[in-house]
Assembly symmetry: C2
Homo-oligomer: 186 residues x 2
Amino acid sequence: MSTSTTVNGVALERHGATIDAVTNDPGLGRFQFRARNHWIDGGHSRTTIQGFYGAGHEDATRADPFVVDTDEPPILLGENRAPNAGEYALQALAACLVGTIVYHAAARGIALQGLECTVHGDLDVQGFLGLDSDIRPGYQQIDVAIAVTGDLDDDQLAELASLTRYSPVRDTVTNPVAVAIEVTRA
Amino acid sequence: MSTSTTVNGVALERHGATIDAVTNDPGLGRFQFRARNHWIDGGHSRTTIQGFYGAGHEDATRADPFVVDTDEPPILLGENRAPNAGEYALQALAACLVGTIVYHAAARGIALQGLECTVHGDLDVQGFLGLDSDIRPGYQQIDVAIAVTGDLDDDQLAELASLTRYSPVRDTVTNPVAVAIEVTRA
C-alpha cells in the first residue's frame, strides 16, 4: 500500500526514507554547500549559488544559479541596492529556525498553521572600523521572537522551542566554527 | 577646498567623516539590523528586510522592504525555489569578507581591480536530523578562497588577508554569539 502523508508541507514518507538512508549509511549525511561572491563596486557585490554535494553525490537539480546581491545603505556608504551582509546573516538564521521547526514538528505530527520569526542583531561598528580593539566586529547579541499559529498546547509550544537546537545556522552562529581563509592573486 | 576621492567605489571623505563622527561620539557606532521571516509551506519561507537602527536613529532610506526567499533542494524535501538557509549563511560570509576588504583597502589607499570569494561549508545532516548527538547541526568547517586582481605586492596581499579580521560575519561565525530565542503563540 502506498501512502502519502504531508504535514506542514513536508512529505513524511520522503522524510522517513531520508532518515532511514542516512541511518543505514551515515556517509550520506555529509553535505557541502557553496557560495561564490563577485565584487562589483563599493559595497555592492553579487553571489551565485548553484551546486552542492550531498547524499553521496554532486547535486544537479539546479539548471541555473541563484543570484543574490548585497549592498549597504547610504549611511554605510552604499546605495541600498540590496540587504547588507549582516542582514543576510540574520535572514539565514531566521529562515533556518523556521525550516527546522517546520520539519521536526512535521516528523512529530505537530501541524502548524503559521510561523513568523523576527530576528534583531546588535553590533557596534567601532569593531568593524577598528576603532576599539575591545569591541568585536560581529553581533554582540541576537534576539529571536518566533510566533506560532496553530492548535497547540503548552507542552507542544515548549517542544517547538526545544527543536531549534537542531538548526544548523543557529549552531553555526551560537558556537565557534573554524573558518580558513586563503587570499591569492587571481 | 572640496575634494572627492573614491577608491574601490568607496567615497573616502564620507568614510573618514564616519570614522570621525563615531570617534567623537562612540554611541553612534551602535547598530541593530533586523530580518523577519514568514513561513509559506514546507521548506519555503520569505524574509523581509527593511528598517534598522544606526548612527543614533532609525533608518528611513528604504521605501520598500527587500524580499528574500528560502527553500530547500529536492533531496532536502524542497523544490529549489531559492537557496537554503545554510547557503545564505555562506553568502553572508562571502559578501561580508569582500565588503570588508574593499572598504578597509580603500581607507589604506589600496586600489583593487577585482575580488572573487568562494566559500565552501561542510556539515553532516545527521546533526540536523538528531541521529547522532555527537555531530553538530551546523558547519563543521568553512573554507574560503579569495582571489584578488590588482597591482599588488606581496605585503599588500598579506595585508588584505589580515583585513578580514574586521568582518562582522566572519566574527559572528568564528566566535560564539549569544542567541536568545522566545517562542510564543501569535
